[in-house]
């Protein structure tokens, strides 16, 4: 009898504990898996997610940072193991995922309604579904040390020829003129995209569609020049030592330490690159030939999407929060250009960047960033091709031809 009572009471206790453990706000705990690509503020972003979780106690966050969106998500999509909430770039990869039903269409979310229309096309699939919300408006430009420019009596160059002259002057003063980062996608964000924008977009304004159909012809001198320009900078000694082993963060670090006078990087790095000890200013990348109008880059930043699955409701909640009440945390930490209509909080945007982007908005013709329009399978080729050109293993024309072939093969 006593034994039975003991057993019963233990069972009751256990049941009570289990019951209360499962009860959190009257709902079952949801573990929201988040895979985020945010290389400049990985920890901070985790903190933002925790703020969201604290406002919704029944949600627990499982946060992974990922290095490269497509590389990480492809196998997950293939094996059906998508995280609930993911970073996603505008472009063909995400479009494919939403049309296959792996990502959900977020057109009717509060987040989408709060997003400016300009950043929606890159995140819209051929079937008209919106697969993600951009993480910001982005562009890439040249950051430079104001004091050095003043000392050397130079001013921001407006075209490629002036750019070469400026670099030559800096080199003559014994300094590194510009940082180029060929190890990873950074070079595609900068040199390749601007080269493509200025050399190829003016005569191919329908390049988005051409890439989709595989009719974009890239085995051209214009495209070869995109590679040749970087080689020229390296050959003339304008770039940093250890060029071929400089990766994204290495480049940023070099600039912040004052080891180079200029740095070609994205607007999303303003938060890190502007508050240097020396005064830093920016100017639009001078990849246009003299006499030709610049084609600036207006593009989207890596954004977010929600996967189809049992937690999509919570995923949408997070999406709406990040693009609404929680937006200012994210934006303030990065200082990037907002993509939302109503930021619901203070926006920290450096005046210099604001000036830059307002100026860019005045241009009639702009282009996107590489990952928004090239086939997903060719993305890792661009840095590799630059490396081969810099090593002297491929001529710029050969690199152009190789990319052309890969882009066409990918669409087959």
């Amino acid at each position: 009898m006593k034994k039975a009572l003991l057993v019963l009471s233990i069972l009751l206790l256990a049941g009570g504990l289990a019951f209360s453990a499962g009860q959190q706000g009257g709902q079952e705990t949801v573990l929201l898996t988040c895979a985020i690509h945010i290389p400049d503020i990985p920890e901070k972003f985790g903190e933002f997610l925790e703020i969201f979780a604290s406002e919704n106690p029944y949600i627990k966050i499982d946060y992974t940072t990922i290095e490269d969106v497509e590389t990480f998500l492809k196998p997950k999509a293939a094996t059906g193991l998508m995280p609930d909430f993911i970073s996603i770039n505008g472009g063909d990869f995400g479009a494919d995922l939403v049309d296959r039903g792996i990502l959900i269409d977020v057109s009717n979310t509060a987040a989408a309604k709060n997003t400016v229309d300009a950043v929606k096309p890159q995140f819209t699939s051929p079937q008209g579904k919106l697969f993600g919300i951009a993480g910001g408006v982005s562009s890439s430009l040249v950051y430079y040390q104001k004091a050095v420019f003043k000392d050397l009596g130079i001013s921001p160059p407006k075209n490629w020829d002036e750019f070469l002259k400026v670099n030559q002057t800096i080199k003559g003063a014994g300094k590194t003129a510009i940082i180029i980062t060929p190890v990873d996608g950074t070079i595609a964000n900068t040199a390749w995209s601007h080269g493509f924008a200025n050399n190829i977009v003016p005569s191919n304004t329908d390049y988005f569609q051409k890439f989709d159909k595989g009719t974009m012809n890239l085995d051209t001198e214009a495209h070869a020049d995109v590679f040749a320009k970087v080689k020229m900078l390296a050959d003339r000694g304008y770039t940093q030592g250890g060029l071929l082993s400089t990766a994204y963060m290495d480049g940023n670090q070099l600039y912040v330490q004052g080891k180079s006078v200029q740095h070609f990087a994205g607007t999303w790095l303003a938060g890190m690159l502007l508050p240097t000890e020396f005064e830093t200013d920016v100017y639009p990348a001078p990849w246009n030939a003299s006499g030709k109008t610049k084609v600036p880059i207006v593009a989207t930043e890596t954004g977010w999407g929600v996967a189809e699955g049992p937690h999509k409701k919570e995923g949408i909640m997070l999406l709406d929060w990040l693009n609404g009440p929680g937006f200012h945390y994210y934006q303030n930490a990065r200082g990037n250009i907002p993509h939302v209509k109503d930021p619901m909080g203070e926006v920290k945007l450096d005046a210099k960047i604001k000036t830059y982007i307002d100026d860019v908005y005045t241009y009639k013709l702009t282009a996107g960033l590489w990952f928004e329009f090239i086939p997903a399978a060719t993305m890792q080729l661009i840095p590799k091709l630059y490396q081969e050109v810099l090593l002297g293993q491929k001529t710029p024309r050969e690199a152009a031809a190789a990319f052309d072939k890969a882009a066409k093969d990918a669409v087959k």
């Binding site: 898996t33 499982d62 094996t79 963060m249």
Partner: protein, 285 residues
Amino acid sequence: MRKKKMLGYHRRRKLLINLVMLLIMLALLMPLWYVLNNAFKAEQEIVRRPLVLRPQDFTMDSVIRAFRALKYPARFLNSSIILVVSCFFLVTLGSAAGFGIALSNSRFLNRIYTILVAIITLPFQLAMVPLIFMLKAMGLINSYLGIALVYTGWFLPFVIFLYTGFIRTIPKELEESGRVDGCSLLQSYWHIYLPLLKSITGTVLILRGVPIWNDLLVPMITLTRSTLATLPLKLFSFIGQYGASMTRWNLVFGGTFVVSLPILIVFLALQRLFIRGVVSGAVKG
């Protein structure tokens, strides 16, 4: 150690060798010192004085931050569970298989043994891709069991090789006398042989345990949930962000130190065993 005649020639030669070895040791330890001393500095000091650790610069701050950033206790637990389960499988299945092969006198089993030894040379990459899909189909992705089975399948041939070699050195009379006393094979295995296998099991644990603990590839391709990440995997994602994440050197060095610590401690405490383990493994070869 062997006795040597204490000729002046020998003493001089010993001295010379010792000197050279000392230099080599220094060169060898330099990279380790580089990491170690920077793990205990604040960020600015790392950049300013990368090789010298002044007492006034000493701080546990980097290590602690790295510890937190890596979510260390959870990762440690993951790595440990995977290690224990894998080793459990390897030891039980491997010793049983070694026992069966060594004692059977069967041509069939001997042929199997030869094939197993040949399998040791096959690269993991050959099985890698279909293995993931298979694990997924079996629902073993994101599970300790799944990873343990992968390691087991991969390393069993080598482990069986070690056990078989060792058991073969045990006199057959042992088993025969056991049989005379009425022991079935199972009882023989359990009561007679298993206790004798302690030393070779130690070898197995060291030779395969360390690589399993430190492995990057298998967790990288079989785990999707970060909560299950192992220590090396977490460290890699930590530093793998676009090259050496130099913006937070203190975290990186602190992290490296703190991830290597458990194995370093175990190694220092058991170094005799480690070395004996490798040596006896080599002799079996």
